[in-house]
């Protein structure tokens, strides 16, 4: 089936070439980091995780978001999703690939990455995260590939694939739960030390993942003859509505607990994020933008006429995606480190090189999505023809 | 099999690329470098293990040393003859083998290995 990715229109090849060019430039940036060390980034002794780990966290959510197609179809027999579950599975593949690349980019000694396996340490959450992410990647590759193959050959998929699919559903919840456990089990970090973190991560994932899927559906519809179906997209919009409301609700629960109890070690991070500390206000405009995007998206989403209108869908999805991205991809990690363990405020801003490497990883993810979606849509075009 | 030509050409190019290092280096093999002992090493006469064994297995031994020192906190090595040595690359090995460049690096370069020991461990005798 791979050969389907090797023939395409001029625009297809231009797009691929563009992505490759971005990846190549970013890779040269990475070589600089490889040579010098992580000192090329804006990270510091106080803010020891930054943009890479934040992107990783956000993208685990995007990967888990694919389950919002798989679950209704396989557990509730919701037919409208049947034709596009493959898009959710392939998006998950690309997102996990990006996650793993971000982890690698963040390691001080990437050559020793396999130590996590050689010295397997079950009480370290990072060990479990490596395990569930790689497992999820494998599951989605196998499931996506086998389903597509069966569709192309017009035969029923092998029976065992069904069990893998059932396994992949709780697994999707698992990857983001374990990712939240990385942070929420650390005793000295008040911003993360909350049991609502995993549910909050999942809620934002089930908003961000499907929003990105809908955006991809629009692109698929534009550049191929395969139509993902209006009904499926409308249902996804409904899922996004619930998920986004849950996400904001969980955030409000956190805000209540923190500000009503007024324990400084928990309160000061949120205060810093939304109001800054003295002249340290780097994240304040971002956080309010995120809140504005999420809240106004909720207003638009709860009105069925707007939510179901294909003209507005892409805009709402962009709002949701950007809003949740800022919340997780910018505020969540840096916010946990400011103030630091000594309760001093040391801010973090990513360097241009750090951003370039980040863009490179995203370009790699887009390349994977492009190739996998090209294969999937072309097979669907042929089957439909 | 209408692509027969293309496939054969592809395989040929692949094979050529993969074997590049072999035919590129053919006939340029150099003799293994001679080990040069520092005066301190000559004076000591014996190493902690027989010479040929050290040549072959010093890396495993050092791996054992580092685990013993760092993880077990056992820092003294008892040789076969009962003699005791501080398990330390910088402070024991290089104490005798003061000529790191001739004794260590030459052979490592020849074998194209790049042990990362030296990223942290220093040669105290180095001027």
């Amino acid at each position: 089936m791979l050969e389907k990715a090797l023939s395409g229109s001029r625009n297809y090849w231009l797009w691929i070439a563009g992505l490759m060019a971005v990846i190549a430039v970013a890779f040269m940036g990475y070589l600089q980091q490889w040579e010098f060390g992580l000192g090329v980034t804006g990270m510091s002794r106080d803010v020891s995780w930054g943009f890479y780990i934040a992107q990783f966290t956000f993208l685990v959510g995007v990967a888990a978001g694919g389950v919002m197609l798989v679950l209704p179809y396989y557990l509730h027999d919701y037919k409208a999703f049947g034709r596009i579950t493959i898009l959710g599975e392939f998006l998950a593949v690309a997102a996990v690939v990006m996650c793993l690349l971000f982890i690698l980019a963040d390691l001080g000694q990437p050559k020793r990455a396999m130590n996590v396996i050689f010295n397997a340490t079950p009480y370290s959450m990072l060990f479990w995260d490596a395990l569930v992410l790689n497992g999820y990647l494998l599951l989605n590759i196998v499931i996506g590939w086998k389903l597509l193959e069966a569709e192309r050959n017009a035969v029923p998929a092998p029976k065992w694939i069904k069990y893998l699919i059932y396994l992949s559903i709780p697994w999707a919840f698992g990857i983001h739960t374990v990712t939240a456990f990385l942070y929420c089990g650390l005793p000295g970090r008040g911003y993360w030390l909350t049991a609502i973190l995993a549910p909050r991560f999942l809620a934002s994932a089930f908003a961000a993942g499907p929003s990105f899927l809908i955006l991809l559906c629009f692109i698929v519809r534009k550049v191929t003859k395969f139509d993902p179906g209006t009904k499926a997209m409308q249902t996804l919009m409904k899922i996004i509505t619930y998920a986004l409301i849950a996400n904001v609700f969980f955030l409000l629960c956190e805000i209540f607990t923190v500000f009503y109890s007024q324990i400084p070690e928990h309160m000061d991070h949120l205060k810093y994020l939304f109001f800054g500390h003295g002249d340290k206000v780097a994240l304040v405009p971002w956080m309010w933008t995120s809140m504005f995007l999420m809240l106004s998206a909720i207003v638009l989403l709860v009105i069925p006429k707007i939510r179901n209108n294909e003209k507005y869908m892409p805009f709402i999805c962009i709002m949701v995606f950007v809003g949740t991205w800022i919340d997780k991809g910018m505020g969540m990690i840096a916010g946990g480190f400011v103030p630091n363990a000594m309760h001093t405020y040391h801010e973090y801003t990513p360097t241009p090189l750090e951003i370039l490497i980040t863009v490179g990883v995203y370009a790699t993810g887009l390349l994977v999505v492009t190739i996998l979606y090209k294969i999937a849509t072309q097979i669907k075009e042929e089957v439909n023809a | 099999m209408k692509d027969k030509g293309k496939i054969i050409a592809g395989v040929a190019i692949f094979a050529a690329l993969v074997s590049f290092p072999f035919w590129y280096n053919t006939g340029t093999a150099k003799p293994a470098p001679e080990l040069i002992l520092a005066p301190e090493a000559k004076a000591a006469v014996t190493c902690i293990l027989p010479k040929d064994q050290m040549a072959k297995e010093h890396m495993q031994l050092l791996d054992g040393w580092r685990n013993s020192v760092v993880r077990e906190g056992q820092r003294v090595y008892v040789a076969e003859d009962g003699k005791k040595y501080d398990m330390s690359l910088s402070n024991t090995c290089l104490e005798c083998h003061t000529n790191k460049a001739d004794f260590c690096d030459k052979c490592h370069d020849y074998a194209a290995v790049n042990p990362y020991c030296w990223d942290c461990h220093v040669n105290p005798k180095e001027k």
């Binding site: 510091s44 | 402070n91 220093v122």
Partner: protein, 260 residues
């Protein structure tokens, strides 16, 4: 040949698979020297749980500088210009930053800005050890929380887990910051870029029966000893003085005590 192979096996020990079953802590393919060939120095200082008491009444800015310098020069801790990349094992903090859980707006000016020394607490229940995915950070039988720099992958999970800010990361090659790339103490290794580091309670000095550098330089302000030994000097000091620990309510069980 056969003979030397056999004797090597005896010396280098079994590969980790066998050892793993016994100690459950070692990686595949690593070598261990069998116990009859790897021993401790006769002069070794031993304890069940090493600890430290810091008498903050005796600390001054100058003394703190002297102590930190003694540690950092002997452990080849580089002085880096860029504050982001800073590495420190033992350093001075003002009281209000060292003891964030004792906020007191009416604190005597002198106390609030009192120069306190902070270092790794060598916790009894260390969150950094729990977080480390490779056991590069581990707790020894004598309570010391130690780092195996050979194994660290530089994920910095331990830095996020440590509630005391005791850990530093090598954001660049530390030798770049040393004069001619030479360490100040050639008998002690430097670190490589991309690994985390912190105070080791001078494990290398305890191994030969010496006190840590900081204690030696402290002019009596720092007392070091075995917390589990009722008759030790440190226990005597703890019995006679009111002491506090940093963020003890987190349950980490710090082994560094402060007389304030």
């Amino acid at each position: 040949m056969k003979e030397s192979r056999r004797s090597f096996l005896k010396i280098a020990g079994v590969s980790a698979l066998g050892v793993t079953a016994a100690s459950n802590a070692h990686a595949i393919g690593e070598y261990f020297i069998p116990s009859e060939q790897a021993i401790k120095d006769q002069k070794v200082s031993t304890a069940d749980r090493w600890g430290m008491v810091i008498d903050t009444r005796k600390l001054t800015h100058e003394l703190n500088e002297k102590i930190a310098k003694s540690c950092h020069l002997n452990h080849n801790v580089p002085t880096l210009e860029n504050k982001n990349h800073e590495i420190k094992w033992i350093w001075e903090e003002h009281y209000e930053h060292a003891f964030t859980q004792q906020p007191n707006e009416f604190q005597a000016e002198e106390t609030a800005h009192a120069p306190i020394l902070t270092l790794c607490n060598h916790c009894d229940n260390p969150p950094c050890v729990q977080a480390c995915p490779t056991k590069a950070t581990f707790q020894r039988e004598d309570g010391i929380v130690l780092m195996d720099f050979h194994r660290c992958i530089g994920c910095r999970f331990c830095m996020a887990a440590c509630p005391y800010g005791s850990r530093s990361f090598n954001f660049r090659d530390p030798r770049d910051a040393m004069e001619d790339g030479k360490p100040t103490n050639p008998e002690f290794p430097t670190r490589t870029k991309g690994v985390v580091e912190k105070c080791n309670f001078c494990a290398e000095r305890l191994a030969v029966g010496k006190d840590p550098y900081c204690v030696e330089a402290s002019e009596g302000a720092l007392v070091f000893g075995d917390l589990s030994d009722e008759n030790s000097e440190i226990r005597k000091v703890l019995k006679e003085n009111y002491t506090i620990r940093r963020k003890a309510s987190l349950g980490t069980g710090p082994s560094v005590f402060y007389i304030v």
